[in-house]
């Protein structure tokens, strides 16, 4: 099966703090030489803590940032080289749903105008055709038909996220980037939205790039999980394998730190000390070595490459 989207050697560096004389500037290695594929109808989950580069990865996929090096191939075409008709097609094929549905919907637009906007820009439909599509989309995401005349402020967080999903689906994308789509929602609403996303994937054959810090939610939603640390992928593989039998010490620590679902799963030990170092000046060798409970002498000298280990890839000298 050819992947829908493939990232090769994807890198994004942000220059920072350049003084008046242009000296002393460093670079933040937000994303540093990562590779992944997203298959049609499948979900790639990306996990990691603040500053690991997961949101930058999403922006690169959405072509909101240009990569410093490496490339993103969409149906075997380099996304960076797209323009005109090709870029138009890419924008139509890749849509996004963001974390905060209070910020991502224009408060001055009615719901039907919000959902119709991508239809108007991408498909030159006439009024009745647009109205019919909006009605269908509202139905698909489980909102009542009368919602179309209302403004975003008249909806709760969960309903707004449904509006954002309807807008993302309006032009029948192939890939939807979901950046923390449920973390701003109430607990009792999250399961509704996650179920809706799963149903839509099955019905429409959508691919997802799912980014979230809730590890159990990512494990539930994803087919493949990539674990990022300071701009690098440290482990990537089949979701259940990564979640249930993590190999990289960082992945192990991350999943051990996840909160239990039942009081009997209480784990008292926190194997990880310290905080994520600055991406401006990542540690030499393995970027995780200063916090790693299994650190060895080579770890501070040589950076481990991603190696195949069973059904996954791990970047660690232990394997």
């Amino acid at each position: 099966m050819t992947p829908l989207l493939e990232a090769r050697g994807l890198t994004k560096h942000f220059p920072v703090g350049r003084g008046l004389l242009g000296r002393g500037g460093g670079v933040v290695r937000a994303v540093d030489d990562i590779a992944f594929t997203i298959e049609p109808g499948r979900t790639l989950g990306v996990v990691g803590e603040s500053g690991c580069g997961k949101t930058t990865t999403a922006k690169l996929v959405l072509r909101l940032e240009k990569p410093t090096a490496g490339q993103i191939l969409f149906q075997d075409q380099d996304v960076a080289g797209l323009e005109g008709e090709g870029l138009h097609f890419y924008r139509k094929s890749v849509q996004a749903v963001f974390q905060d549905p209070f910020a991502s919907l224009n408060p001055r637009m009615r719901v039907d105008a919000i959902i119709a906007e991508p239809l108007v820009t991408h498909e030159r439909l006439d009024g009745p055709a647009v109205a019919a599509r909006v009605a269908k989309l509202l139905d698909v995401v489980g909102l009542p038909a009368r919602s179309r005349e209302l403004f975003p402020h008249e909806f709760s967080g969960g309903q707004r996220q449904r509006i954002a999903i309807a807008r993302a689906l309006a032009i029948s994308p192939r890939l939807v980037v979901l950046d923390e789509p449920v973390s701003a929602l109430d607990v009792s609403i999250r399961a509704q939205i996650l179920n809706l996303l799963r149903d839509l994937q099955r019905e429409l054959g959508l691919s997802y790039l799912f980014i979230a810090h809730d590890l159990a939610a990512v494990a539930h939603m994803s087919h493949v999980i990539a674990v990022m640390y300071l701009g690098r992928i440290v482990e990537i593989g089949e979701a259940a394998q990564v979640a249930m039998a993590p190999q990289h010490p960082y992945t192990q620590a991350l999943f051990a730190a996840a909160l239990p679902a039942h009081p009997d799963d209480r784990r008292d030990d926190v194997p990880l000390f310290g905080e994520v170092p600055s991406p401006l000046n990542p540690p030499a060798g393995c970027r995780f070595h200063p916090r790693c409970p299994k650190v060895m002498p080579t770890c501070s000298q040589e950076e481990p490459k991603l190696k195949v280990s069973g059904v996954r890839q791990v970047a660690c000298h232990l394997y």
Binding site: S50, V187, A191, H213, A253, L254, A257, A261
Partner: protein
């Protein structure tokens, strides 16, 4: 034995501008907490959990009023205390940690000043001694290089460190009760785990009672002895943590526990709670959960259910689940 904190029939209301619209943010809430134990108060936004915490501290905004009830802390009634008496108590015998450490720390003062301020205000500790104690407190909340950090400003610290400083201020005068309102929501997973572990250690060391206000059942499962579940201002279920997780009586609690994704659970779909949480200023009549409840009967729409006992120390407010579950447990 009597608890450290005994809350009974507590009701807090927000009153609209012309005194017309009354929102019952906290409605007839009762619970007790023993010294050294941990209670989790779980609820969604608008359930009244933060208002409950502010009521316990008597830190409500002017639009709110405590309409009924009693709060007994170490045998003393807090609701009859004057503001001056409350001020002597807050920060000394009971303390609070809020969600956003950047908002609870003053950006213009050093960390040392802010820890020392509490000590100087409550215990009249001389400046030099207060600063020395501030350094010790930073060490006790696992901040490296406290001699340097004590002279730094909040913006120089990471989010996890700021929350540790807030923790250091909270425990500086040796309180008996610590109320933490979503203390780890703004922290990363591994930093959250470190912070929860630290709170557990501090609690054991000082014999502190903890109240966790949270929307996260995982924190309750990890940290708490007792749970109280709030919905639309009422405690719909309360009891020991294992009893609640193993035999949730109220349909809301049950759905909440089932709706969180679990590792290794291959189920395609999660159990979702349909509908939306109600608007606190326009609650449905009867049981506020009835429009979303799969087990609703006519009585739920008309009459609010009273509290009933389902097991030892385990009580709920539900017309349907409580008698059924009580029967099942006996049988």
């Amino acid at each position: 034995m009597s608890g450290l904190l005994e809350v009974s029939g507590l009701s807090t209301q927000y009153v609209g501008a012309r005194g017309t619209r009354v929102t019952r943010a906290v409605d007839d809430v009762s619970f007790s907490l023993e010294a050294g134990k941990t209670l989790g108060i779980v609820g969604e936004s608008g359930s009244g959990k933060t208002t409950l915490a502010l009521t316990l501290m008597r830190l409500l905004p002017p639009a709110a009023r405590i309409a009924a009830g009693s709060i007994r802390f170490e045998g003393e009634e807090l609701l009859s205390k004057s503001e001056r008496q409350m001020r002597a108590l807050r920060g000394k015998r009971m303390a609070m940690i809020l969600q956003d450490p950047m908002a609870s720390l003053n950006p213009l003062f050093t960390v040392g000043d802010q820890i020392a301020e509490t000590l100087r205000a409550h215990e009249a500790t001389p400046r030099r001694a207060a600063w020395a104690k501030a350094r010790d407190l930073l060490t006790s909340v696992n901040i490296a290089a406290p001699e340097r950090r004590v002279r730094e400003y909040p913006h120089e610290l990471s989010g996890g460190m700021r929350q540790r400083v807030v923790g250091a201020i909270a425990i500086s005068c040796g309180p008996k009760l610590l109320i933490a309102d979503e203390p780890t929501t703004s922290l990363d997973v591994t930093i959250q785990a470190q912070y929860l572990k630290l709170l557990g250690e501090i609690q054991r060391e000082h014999g502190l009672a903890l109240i966790f206000i949270t929307h996260n059942l995982g924190i309750v499962a990890r940290m708490c002895d007792q749970v109280a579940v709030m919905y639309a201002g009422r405690l719909v279920e309360a009891g020991p943590v294992r009893s609640i997780f193993n035999h949730p009586a109220h349909p809301y609690t049950r759905a909440l526990i089932e709706s969180i994704p679990k590792f290794g659970d291959a189920a395609e779909r999660l159990t979702a709670i349909e509908g939306q949480p109600p608007d606190p200023s326009a609650l449905p009549p009867g049981c506020a959960f009835h429009p979303r409840c799969p087990f609703v009967v006519d009585r739920c729409r008309a009459e609010a259910p009273p509290e009933s006992q389902v097991a030892a120390q385990h009580r709920t407010r539900c017309w349907v689940a409580a008698p059924a579950l009580a029967g099942a447990l006996k049988g």
